[in-house]
């Protein structure tokens, strides 16, 4: 208490001596607002002019036609495999395998991705780089995971359990009418539980994303520093027509 009074006295003294020129330092009041940036606020021309070359280049690259889709490509046009899923998995295989081979001398066996990772349809018509940004907005890269046969069995169990058309490439899975496995082929050879397989997926899934815990059992992980989106763009540049089909890579036998 004594201390406080002392301070007050000193304060008053200074105040009198320097007649109001000192001590403008205490918050008397505060006022908070938020201002919505709507069309009533003009855009500053010089800033827009500065942005323009960047914007033009982004739009030019994103909207340049790279390929053509004769039909709509979606992830909901088949129960076990879909046009969008097959396209994406096949792209990861075709664009990823040569890089993996050149880095390690080894062959990629198959691709396994997640259905939820496909974020957009591809509309019928022109395909541009913007299409790839819509389908795959994430900065996910391709990684190759070495799995034991046992872990691949868990992968298959995960796939069957999920009931989802998770994108696959390089393997064929046939189900009996009661949803048990009829056959599994990898690179056209029957699945061998006693060997290791090299599986390409996204870095997100390889880290156990989407509860794909079998990827955490990896015997080795090779990062190939290649964005899935860039693999798509490179593929679109290489081909004229993009027309994936629902096929027999994963299907159920009819009774």
């Amino acid at each position: 208490m004594d201390l406080k009074i002392k301070h007050f006295v000193i304060f008053i003294t200074i105040g009198l001596t320097f007649s109001c020129k000192q001590q403008i330092q205490n918050v008397a009041s505060m006022e908070g607002n938020e201002i919505r940036l709507d069309t009533s606020i003009p855009q500053k021309d010089s800033i827009n002019a500065y942005i323009k070359p960047y914007r033009d280049r982004v739009n030019h690259i994103l909207d340049s036609t790279l390929a053509y889709a004769p039909k709509k490509i979606t992830k909901v046009d088949g129960p076990y495999n879909t046009t969008a899923g097959n396209l994406l998995a096949d792209i990861v295989f075709s664009e990823g395998a040569p890089i993996f081979k050149s880095r390690t001398g080894k062959n990629l066996d198959f691709v396994f991705l997640n259905h939820g990772g496909i974020r957009s349809i591809i509309s019928q018509g022109k395909i541009s780089a913007r299409t790839a940004f819509e389908v795959m907005p994430f900065e996910n890269t391709i990684v190759v995971v070495e799995l034991s046969g046992k872990s691949v069995k868990k992968l298959l169990a995960y796939l069957l359990e999920s009931g989802m058309a998770h994108p696959i490439s390089g393997m064929q899975i046939v189900l009996n009418t009661d949803n048990t496995l009829a056959s599994v082929k990898i690179q056209d050879k029957p699945f061998d539980e006693n060997r290791h397989y090299f599986v390409a997926t996204s870095d997100y899934l390889a880290a156990g994303g989407d509860s794909m815990i079998f990827f955490k059992e990896a015997l080795s992980v090779t990062t190939i520093d290649y964005l899935i989106r860039n693999a798509m763009i490179d593929y679109f540049k290489r081909v004229d027509t993009v027309a994936p089909k629902v096929d027999y890579r994963f299907y159920k036998l009819t009774p």
Binding site: N33, I35, L37, K44
Partner: protein, 303 residues
Amino acid sequence: MNRRKFISSTSASSVFVGLGGLSLGSCASKSAKKITILHTNDMHSHIDPFSADHSEYANLGGMARRASLIENIRKENNNSLLFDAGDIFQGTPYFNFYGGELEFKLMSMLKYDAATIGNHDFDNGIDGLFAQLPHAEFELLSANYDFSNTIMAGHVKPYQIFMVDGIKIGVYGLGIKLSGLVGKNLYKETEYLDPYEIAQDTERLLKEEEKCNLVICLSHIGYDYPSKERPNDLILAAKTQYTDLIIGGHTHTFLDKPTLVENSKGREIIVNQVGCFGLYLGRIDFYLDSIQHIAATGVSIKV
């Protein structure tokens, strides 16, 4: 322009200010000062306004628009500071194409004074963030990320003191826990320290040693979470004693008005966040005078 303003100053505080004014006569009010704090958060590379056909944010935002708004506010009160609370990067192809260069260049042109670092600012790795530093003419502040063993060492300060019209303003930054949110390959050896403890240490330093008149926190830890175990701005405010304003981010929280939270000494302070994508600009005006206002009741707050 749609200004949202709410008045809720208590009668007790009005009375006190009234008495204070009487006791020192008219000279105090004559020499009162006004400091304007402007802020954004989570702009996520939204450099252009949203397109006219956007279903939620049609024609809103954009940095050219923000530039003219800020310019007008500075004309009205040159004693202004402009801050960002992180997640500047990631969200539009501008980031994918230019890695954040344009975001930093434009923030420099808009004369941002400081920003803190959000989790998405690590999206091109700590090297990607480092590569954009030459384009940032503003301070990057983080008191609870220890960058000592990274390429960012020496490029991020825990706090910065700004002198504005003779008023000493201490500003410190806080970042969110990175593990589980950002790949370790991206943030590398960046060490996350407890934001509450660091905030208390930093505000004490700014107030007791540096004698700052105002203490401001730029936080990317998030406004609030269902789990109270996760550090957040509301609990941070309650645990501090010298911080006057917490400018938040991360949770993309749109508030109808800035939140008032009682701090550890029973004084009300402001916690604010303006959603995301540059749709809003936050504005907090501080009025300072020579009167020794007593914490809990002496300061009127209009939000």
